[in-house]
Each structure stands twice: as C-alpha cells, then as structure tokens.
C-alpha cells in the first residue's frame, strides 16, 4: 500500500506533461459509474448503508490489476482538509467525494492514473486518466484506442465480479439520476484553448457543441470565472449507446475544436492588430515585475506563457516541451501552497515572488516582432 506522504509528494504525471497538438490536447479521462443492486444510493443512504456498500466493493476493487499493487487506499474521515484540497488540485478526487465522510472510500493507483471512489454520488465511480493523445483521425487513434480498451477490460472484470444494478449485457446501468442512466461511461477531453478565448469565440464553440450533443465547461468549475483557458469537452451516457459508438464521434468533435484553435492561433500571428504579441508581451512583463498575484492571475498568465512558447514568441533554453512541464509543476506547487497558507494576505506576495524568481532563473529570449512583419 502506498503511504499518504508518497501520494502527495509528486503530482500525477498526466498533469505535468505538455499537451499534444501544439499543447492544445492536455489529456483524456474516462468516468465509469456503477451501482450495486439492493442498496440505497449514497445520497439516500445512512452511514451504515454506505459502510455495507464499501464492504461489498472495496476488497474486490483492490484485486483489480489497476489497484492490486502499491495503490493508496483510505476511508474519507482519515483525510484532513488540506489533504483533500491537495487531492482536488491534483485531480485525484471529485468535489463530491471530497465533501463526504463515513463509509466513503478512495483508492488511487500507484501511477496515479486511476482512482476508484466508493459512495461518491453513486456507489462506485472510477476515473481513468491519460495525458494528451496523438492524431486521432483517419485510423490513427491507436494510443487512445488502447487506453479506452484498457478501460473496457477493467469494466468487464468489474461487471463479472459485482452484481451491479442494470443490465450489463445490454450495456445499460442504473444511476441515482434517471436522466444519466446508460452505458455508465463518460469520456472527457481537457483542452487548452487560449486563442479561441482571446478571440472571444468560446461562445460560438459552446453553441456548436450544444448542437453536436457534446458538453463543454470550464475546467475550474468552482463558480468563479477562473478558466485559465482550459475547457472540458465531454459526452453524456445514453441508453443503448456503447463506448465505441461515442468514442469515434466524440474524438471527431474534439479534433474539429483543436483545428479551430490552431487556425485562430495562425490567424492571430499575422493579424495587423498584433493582439497575441500584445497579450504575451504584457503577461511576460507582469510575471517578471508583479509584486502581487492571485491564483487566477497566475493561472491565466501561465496559460498565455505556454501559448507564447508554442508559437515561438518566447524561446526557452531548455526547449518548449521541457519548459511547459516545469511551468505546469510550478503552477501545481504554487496553487497547493497558496491554498493551504494560513495567512491569506501573504499568498499574493508569495506567488509574485516565486514567479519573478522562476522567470529570472530560466534562460530565455523574447522575440519581439518588427512592425514591418505585419505590413
């Protein structure tokens, strides 16, 4: 079993690596939902009821290949507020489970790419993560295909081991919310879309997604306007729809959004208004000179810095990919540190100081364009 200190020492690898396709596709994750027959759903259950569900599920989950070796396992009351906060920032726990207590369990795989949550909003919710993905059109989606196949294999093993509510043969599972019944799987793609956001085109994208029956929401859905240009595209389960049916359609849609983002970036690079150079330049200056930064300002600034890096406006001695990885690590580290600081007023000072130090310590060249480039 993994110890809590080991779990929290390093963020999950999938949050640190640069995204594919010009750093637009940050990752894919799959949410599997199942409920046991004969037990009330967690929201209508008592502590005893939830414990009974945990007793029925946890031993079997710990035998799955994903969690068999070196996994972290805890019942929620054993985790304090700061730990839950950090797990949330590491995307290793859902907000629903983070707020729960007795009879609720979390199991995290050794590689931190699979999380099983018992008595979340449903009896069992499993998240599987994968960083980025390569081109997925024209039969070139093998790596994502392998990832989704491994999810299906795990689900088949679980279906054989547990008596889930619904009909596994028909790929129809019951959930506490009737409108969410279906194949019990949702696919999410995490996208970094600074150019679309900068060009005020996210409204159009959202409208288009509605028509294509794909949902889109900001990644940081805490009710604030903190997006850091990261958005989640995701599917909804539907009765009789198999994972393979959703997958092909969904990744086609993702591909179209990515193409639009890349197209807008190229357009912005050559537009006479020089909006993108202005934005990257201002952000660069802010990170080098600011004395106070909020978490939102820092996240937004890092997003624009990533964009400037991918577009070669800023060239880093360590290389673009390596730089983005170290920037992601710094963002997570600072967010955790700021969120757990006792003196709230000290956090903005700390964030600005660490950003200035990072910019100073990382060798780079800022390529300012000439006005004649836009004639």
């Amino acid at each position: 079993m993994m110890k809590l200190e080991t779990l929290l020492k390093e963020p999950p690898a999938h949050l640190l690596e640069a995204g594919d396709r010009q750093d637009t596709l940050l990752g894919v994750f799959v949410r599997t939902v199942r409920n046991l027959k004969g037990h009330p759903f967690p929201g209508w259950s008592t502590s005893e009821g939830r414990r009974a569900v945990a007793e029925a599920l946890v031993p079997g989950l710990l035998q799955l290949p994903e969690f068999k070796r070196g996994a972290f396992h805890a019942e929620m009351p054993a985790l304090d507020f700061d730990t839950r906060q950090q797990l949330l920032l590491y995307n290793l726990i859902s907000p629903s489970l983070a707020a729960r207590q007795d009879g609720c369990h979390i199991i995290i795989s050794q590689k931190k790419n699979a999380v099983a949550m018992v008595n979340e909003e449903e009896h069992l919710v499993i998240h599987r993560f994968r960083q980025g993905y390569p081109p997925c059109k024209r039969g070139d989606n093998l790596r994502v295909g392998h990832f989704l196949e491994s999810v299906e294999t795990m689900n088949r093993t679980m279906d054989a081991a547990f008596d889930f509510a619904g009909d596994a043969a028909k790929d129809h599972y019951l959930t506490s919310i009737p409108s969410e019944c279906g194949c019990g799987i949702q696919i999410y793609a995490l996208l970094h879309l600074p150019a679309l956001n900068l060009s005020h085109m996210m409204g159009q994208v959202t409208k288009a997604m509605e028509k294509l029956h794909v949902s889109i929401s900001p990644y940081y859905s805490d009710g604030s306007d903190d997006t850091a240009n990261r958005f989640m595209l995701y599917t909804f389960p539907a009765p009789g729809v198999h994972l393979k049916d959703i997958q092909e359609y969904f990744f086609e849609v993702v591909e179209r959004v990515v193409e639009r983002e890349v197209g807008v970036r190229n357009h912005l690079l050559h537009e006479p208004g020089q909006r993108i150079f202005d934005r990257v330049g201002r952000t660069y200056g802010m990170l080098k000179q600011a004395r106070r930064l909020s978490i939102k300002e820092m996240r937004d600034a890092f997003s624009i810095l990533r964009l400037g890096t991918v577009l070669d406006i800023i060239e880093w001695a360590c290389g673009a990919r390596k730089f983005i990885e170290s920037l992601s690590a710094l963002e997570l580290e600072l967010t955790v540190q700021a969120a757990t600081m006792e003196d709230e007023d000290a956090a903005p000072l700390m964030l600005a100081e660490r950003c200035r130090a990072f910019m100073k310590a990382t060798p780079h060249v800022f390529h300012s364009p000439k006005d004649s480039d836009f004639d």
Binding site: F81, A99, R100, Q101, S176, P178, G223
Partner: protein, 162 residues
C-alpha cells in the same frame, strides 16, 4: 438540523428534521463543513434553492397535486423514497425505485406542466421584436433558433388581422 441564511442582512432561520433535510438534498450533514470550505458559492446556491423551496412550498403543492388516494405507488417499498422526493431532487433513492416509481419516470408530470405554464406566460411579441432577435441569432450563427424565429414571423404575417 438548523440552517441560518443571511442575505443582504436579512436572516432566515430554518429547523429541519433528519428526514426533511435528506429530502432537500442535505443528505450528509457532516459534509456541510467541508462543502462550506471547498465550495462556498455552490453551497450558497444550494441553500438559496432550499429556502426558495420552503417559501414556495404551498404553491408547489397546488401545482403538483399528489397522487395520494389513487392506486399508484407513491413510495419505493425498499428504500421509502417518495415521488415527492424525486420531483424535488430529480434523483432516486435506490435501484428498485426504477421499478416501483416507473410511471413517474416515464411521464414527468412536473416538467410537462412547467413547459405548458412557460408557454402560456410568454407574452405575444411583435414582428419587429422577432426580426431583431432573428438578426441577432444569424449574427451569432445560431441557425436553429433563427429558423424557429423565421417561422414565427411567417406565421404572424400570415395570421388574419383583427
């Protein structure tokens, strides 16, 4: 459970028994402390919703007459979740609710009525208003909405004048 809500200096206090708290989505009182720390805005929204539901309770009852006295099963015999709980939370209590509350799930009474009410309450709009909205819909490339508006304008123009 005791809840105190303060909005713009106005204090609303509520005392709920365990069953009522559950029925209003406050399933796990222990989690409220964590929810308050993690998601203050979400919790605030949830509290606002509960207060609204309590205040509008009588009105709601009138709009959705209960099926008491009929032969229809109104509570799941396994987990005792009621139709009223479902209407309030849009959730079910256990997998067996799908069997026992099937009629409600197949014919969402409340939703149908809501749609009807909304349609009835919608004021009649002039051709000019509709054309302005059509123009906006075209500008934002919302062609689905634009088509609906186009048909509305057409119907309005073809309607016999009083």
């Amino acid at each position: 459970m005791f809840l105190t809500q303060i909005v713009n200096g106005k204090v609303t206090e509520m005392a709920l028994c365990e069953e009522c708290a559950k029925a209003r989505g406050l399933f796990d009182p222990q989690s409220l402390t964590f929810a308050e720390k993690f998601f203050p805005q979400e919790l605030q929204r949830q509290m606002d919703k509960i207060v609204r539901q309590l205040v509008q309770g009588d009105k709601e009852e009138k709009r959705r007459p209960a099926a008491e006295g009929c032969d229809v099963i109104t509570a799941c015999p396994v987990c005792h979740f009621t139709l009223e709980d479902y209407r309030r939370t849009n959730r079910l209590g256990c997998p067996d609710c799908y069997t026992f509350l099937a009629s409600e799930l197949n014919a969402p009474y409340g939703d149908a009525e809501d749609v009807e009410t909304t349609q009835q309450e919608q004021p009649l709009r002039s051709t000019k208003d509709l054309e302005a909205e059509l123009q906006q819909a075209v500008e934002r490339e919302d062609y689905e909405r634009a088509a609906v508006l186009r048909d509305e304008i057409k119907a309005l123009n073809n309607a016999p004048k009083a």
